[in-house]
Symmetry: C2
Subunit: 346 residues, 2 copies
């Protein structure tokens, strides 16, 4: 029975022989679509398969069927809560759809992203979801577009998460609108003088958020002066460094700093604290995304909620949808006011 030395996985052939039926019958009772096989045979096959510990070879099925059950997911940084939440959504939905997800990390490098897309095509995934951030100045953009177009022409489907001007299906995140709503809300709370950590130049998401925030301020009669902003990486450490820079340059009478995303905001609050300033009390801070941990920092962080898991789920559903225009409504966004931006009462 239990072999102790290395062998090969049981093959469908083995199962068929063990059950005393033909290959086709075995195939049909194990994986075939609609049941058109004698129940008695079916049983024999199932038993034989169980006895042999048979598992269909997905690669073989893929070549024979000419189609896989794979979805490829590209993210910038798996350990970043923004991406891991999206990934959780994708993986969850994939599981429900009986699909397998493979994952790769671009590390925010466009050249690397292109390479990865090329490599992933080898898997012949049914769909490719690109969640790594788009940039305006991407030199590899054209090549990427070409690669993806070719991929779609051979039956694949690509879905972007938030990059509106691509010809591919997209889960639109209302970065601009959300940031604008945030600005409006902050004005309502009595804030008048704003600063911001603006993220790296050219990063699409960052630019949209800054633009929206600025719009909101301007619409409310305020503004975002350039000397109250700092460029920095789109990460926790970037947020820390950016706030540090703002502090070094002199915060002046800045009342609130918008940090573009929650991890940056958390870094920024730590920078304030390390400089002896109390976030929320002395300088208000707001983020974007509403990652889980912002409820647990002190003060709790005001932010714009993005249902990240749902975004991941939607991305996959969108990819699998028949009709092209199913992109549907953009993902709803919601301003969540917490303790990092108390109402100003003076």
């Amino acid at each position: 029975m239990s072999q102790t030395s290395r062998s090969t996985p049981a093959t469908l052939h083995d199962v068929a022989r063990e059950a005393g039926v033909s290959l086709a019958t075995a195939s049909r009772s194990l994986n075939g679509s609609t049941r058109k096989v004698n129940e008695a045979y079916r049983q024999k096959v199932l038993e034989a398969a169980a006895r042999l510990g048979y598992t269909p070879n997905l690669s073989a099925q893929a070549v024979a069927r000419g189609t896989t059950t794979t979805v490829a997911l590209l993210v910038a940084d798996i350990a970043d809560p923004y991406f891991s939440s999206i990934a959780a959504g994708v993986v969850g939905q994939a599981d429900r759809e009986q699909l397998i997800v493979t994952m790769a990390e671009t590390e925010r490098d466009p050249a690397r992203e292109l390479e990865l897309v090329r490599a992933m095509r080898g898997q012949r995934p049914r769909v490719m979801i690109l969640a790594s951030s788009r940039r305006a100045d991407d030199p590899a953009a054209e090549a990427l577009q070409a690669e993806l177009t070719a991929y779609e022409q051979t039956g694949g489907r690509v879905v972007f998460i938030t990059a509106t001007d691509s010809p591919f299906r997209t889960v639109t995140l209302e970065n601009r609108e959300g940031a604008r709503a945030l600005a409006t809300r902050m004005l309502d709370l009595g804030y008048l003088r704003f600063g911001a950590l603006t993220g790296p130049a050219g990063l699409r998401t960052a630019e949209d958020r800054i633009a929206g925030f600025t719009e909101g301020l301007v619409a409310g009669g305020s503004d975002l002066p350039a000397d109250r902003t700092a460029r920095c990486a789109f990460t926790r450490d970037g947020g820390y460094a950016g706030m540090r820079e703002l502090i070094d340059r002199g915060l002046g009478d800045t009342q609130l700093v918008f940090a573009l995303n929650d991890v940056m905001a958390m870094g920024a609050m730590s920078a304030l604290r390390d400089a002896g300033l109390a976030p929320g009390r002395e300088v208000a801070v707001a983020g974007f995304d509403d990652i889980p941990t912002v409820r647990d920092v002190t003060p709790t962080l005001t932010t714009v909620r993005l249902p990240l898991e749902e975004v991941g789920e939607r991305a996959l559903r969108l990819a699998l949808a028949e009709s092209d225009d199913e992109s549907g409504a953009p993902v709803p966004t919601e301003v969540i006011v917490r303790d990092s931006t108390p109402r100003l009462t003076d």
Copy 2:
């Protein structure tokens, strides 16, 4: 040139024809191991491949070669920083080894885990890494073991992350030792009366940490009274609920609560805050893992550092290693004292 309608991916056959060589030559120049092909031909093939946008079909390669380049990763919860950090390590190392990683989520359900392992075997992955938590009372344990054994007998390699009594390769995390060291250190800081959130019964990691912590306390002349502990889920919300329960039961003169892992600790601190108690000042809190965000909470969290990304990398390296005993040294652990456990000076 650029087809506008749907077609099929270029095949090696196409490339060969386009280059005017045989299938074999094309194969050899594109993917063959050692170069034994005329440079002129080689060039022609490469050019043809580029012109056609050819990408080798990995599934086909897999069936032909009888081996894949896939590593399957099983985690409990992708969005949890503990697992996403490990995943980042695995994916990073896989990239370096030219391997593809597929990912699935057990949602902490042993039955589901078994199912997933069975399903993943269909991919014929070279290695399978199980990072989802082991439990003592798992009714599916035997079946899982059988499944994994069968998998290894057919050439696969399984690696567990922290489950010492399995017959498979394991990346050992010194949960017990780390917790013991933490206890010792807390005693050094002057703490005398301890409580703990003990996680769900039967969860291996949780039990090791509690055992180690208790050992450390006892060795130092203290103890962990049952009435100062609370069972709860191994998550942020579990930590919150557990601390809530402790508070409701009456904290008494408890000075420090050990939370088993950082996300629980963060939940616990929020529970304290919501109850009007200042974490760190009125009740000290310690966690385990050292996930990135604990530097940004207030007070910063005392914890036991586990190099999670490195754990992921090691898991894959261990899987790929020739010799069996390369399990090597357990992952080093380090107590990191931060502001949530100030020195007691009375």
